[in-house]
Structure formats: structure tokens, C-alpha cells
């Protein structure tokens, strides 16, 4: 399994990052990608910008561990996880998870697994600026915890 993991302060070109996953790999039968975008509203308020902080060193290790676990559960050809940090604006891609496999089923499930685990296990934190100039840390969601937990006993489904 070919793995590429990046944490970057520069803009994320989600479309351009997908093609290299299957280019030169004729065994790949499908690629599933998830692109997480910044919304302009959160808990009912207008949000104008966001700053993403992380734990350098641990972040890369945590993402590698999540991808390795996906590779144990499903037969995958290639995985790419790219996450933004620093200042972002509404509509900016925050994260790309792209998974290439021989058959679509594995790629669909592994992609969802990776983003569900990333949301509860990778050390990133969002601080958002509201349209009226206030700044606040984003609270973790229980629904994200539940989504990650649902994989605990699921094996490779």
C-alpha cells in the first residue's frame, strides 16, 4: 500500500491531489475521495475565518496509525491524507482523504473509516472567527465520537 500523509499551511487542491493515486497503478479499479470544506456557519452563527492548530510530530504519527489500521482492515492500493493548518476561509478545503483500491467497496469503507477516526484521534483544533469579530474554540461533537466508535467492532464490514 502506497501512503502519503501531509500537513500543510498552503492551499489544498483537492482535485489535483487525487489523480496521482491511480496514475501508473493499473491494478486500481476505483478511487474514493472525501473533501472536508470550511462552512460559513457553525452553531447558528456566521463564521468568517478559522485557524487550525495541531501538535506537530504527533499529528503525522496519529494519521499514519489510522491509515495503517485501514490497511489492515481492507486491501488498499494507495491512500493519501492531506490536512490544512493555519488560516482558512469558508469554502477552503480543510482535509482530503483519498483511497484507491482494486474494487470500490474497500475504498468506500476505508475512506469513511479514515475520516471518522481522524476527527476523533488526530490532534487538530479549530478556532473560528465569527462575522462580528469574536473568536472561539470549536467544541468537539458527540456525533463524531459516535461515528468513530461505530467502527470499533465493525472489523472490515
Amino acid at each position: 500500500m502506497h501512503v502519503e500523509i501531509r500537513v500543510q499551511e498552503t492551499a489544498l487542491d483537492a482535485v489535483a491531489e487525487v489523480a496521482p493515486l491511480y496514475g501508473g497503478r493499473p491494478s486500481v479499479g476505483g478511487v474514493v475521495s472525501f473533501v472536508g470544506l470550511m462552512r460559513d456557519t457553525n452553531v447558528g452563527e456566521q463564521v468568517s475565518a478559522m485557524t487550525l492548530e495541531h501538535y506537530p510530530g504527533m499529528t503525522e504519527k496519529a494519521l499514519a496509525a489510522i491509515v495503517a489500521e485501514a490497511g489492515e482492515r481492507w486491501e488498499l492500493e494507495a491512500v493519501r491524507v492531506i490536512h490544512r493548518v493555519g488560516e482558512i476561509r469558508p469554502q477552503d478545503p480543510i482535509v482530503l482523504v483519498a483511497v484507491a483500491s482494486r474494487h470500490r467497496g474497500e475504498a468506500f469503507r476505508a475512506c469513511e473509516f479514515i475520516i471518522d477516526y481522524l476527527k476523533t484521534r488526530a490532534p487538530f483544533w479549530k478556532r473560528e472567527q465569527t462575522a462580528d469579530g469574536r473568536s472561539r474554540w470549536v467544541d468537539a461533537r458527540n456525533s463524531d465520537e459516535a461515528a468513530a466508535d461505530s467502527w470499533e467492532d465493525a472489523g472490515s464490514r
Partner: protein, 82 residues
């Protein structure tokens, strides 16, 4: 000696990014209790009912995990990436 790092809202509330401690507490829970015992905002941030996650040497760690000389311990709120 251990190195303790604080992230996101914890770092802001504590006004501290990282520090070195010469004594090595036995476990993550013991370290947390020591920090809470400093009182003031430390007592609030590390109160028992506050959800604080910990990592030891950059891997998620449970409260009972043992600590050793040279360890890097990170404390942070529940994560919100993705």
C-alpha cells in the same frame, strides 16, 4: 525530567505552551493531579470533571499510563480536525 506541552484552549487558558518538570510522576493521572493542585486556573483546567486528553511521546495515553524520565507529555482538549 519530563517535558509537558499544552495545546489549543488549554495553552491559552494556562498561559503556558510547555515546561520542563524535574520530578517524574508515576502516571499521567498523577501528573494531572499535580497540575490541578497548583490551584487557580490550573485547578479549573485539570479539575476531574474536565475532559482533557493526554499523549505520551506523541501517542494517545490513558490516565493510568506510566511515565518515565525523558517523556514528552501533551495535554489538550478533545480534537476538532477534519
Amino acid at each position: 525530567m519530563i517535558r509537558v506541552m499544552y495545546f489549543a484552549s488549554l495553552r491559552e487558558r494556562l498561559g503556558c505552551e510547555n515546561e520542563a518538570l524535574s520530578d517524574v510522576p508515576q502516571t499521567v493521572a498523577a501528573l494531572r493531579a499535580e497540575l490541578a493542585a497548583r490551584g487557580g486556573v490550573w485547578g479549573e483546567v485539570f479539575a476531574d470533571d474536565q475532559r482533557v486528553l493526554a499523549a505520551v511521546n506523541q501517542e494517545m495515553a490513558a490516565a493510568e499510563q506510566a511515565l518515565g524520565d525523558g517523556d514528552e507529555i501533551g495535554f489538550f482538549p478533545p480534537v476538532t480536525g477534519g
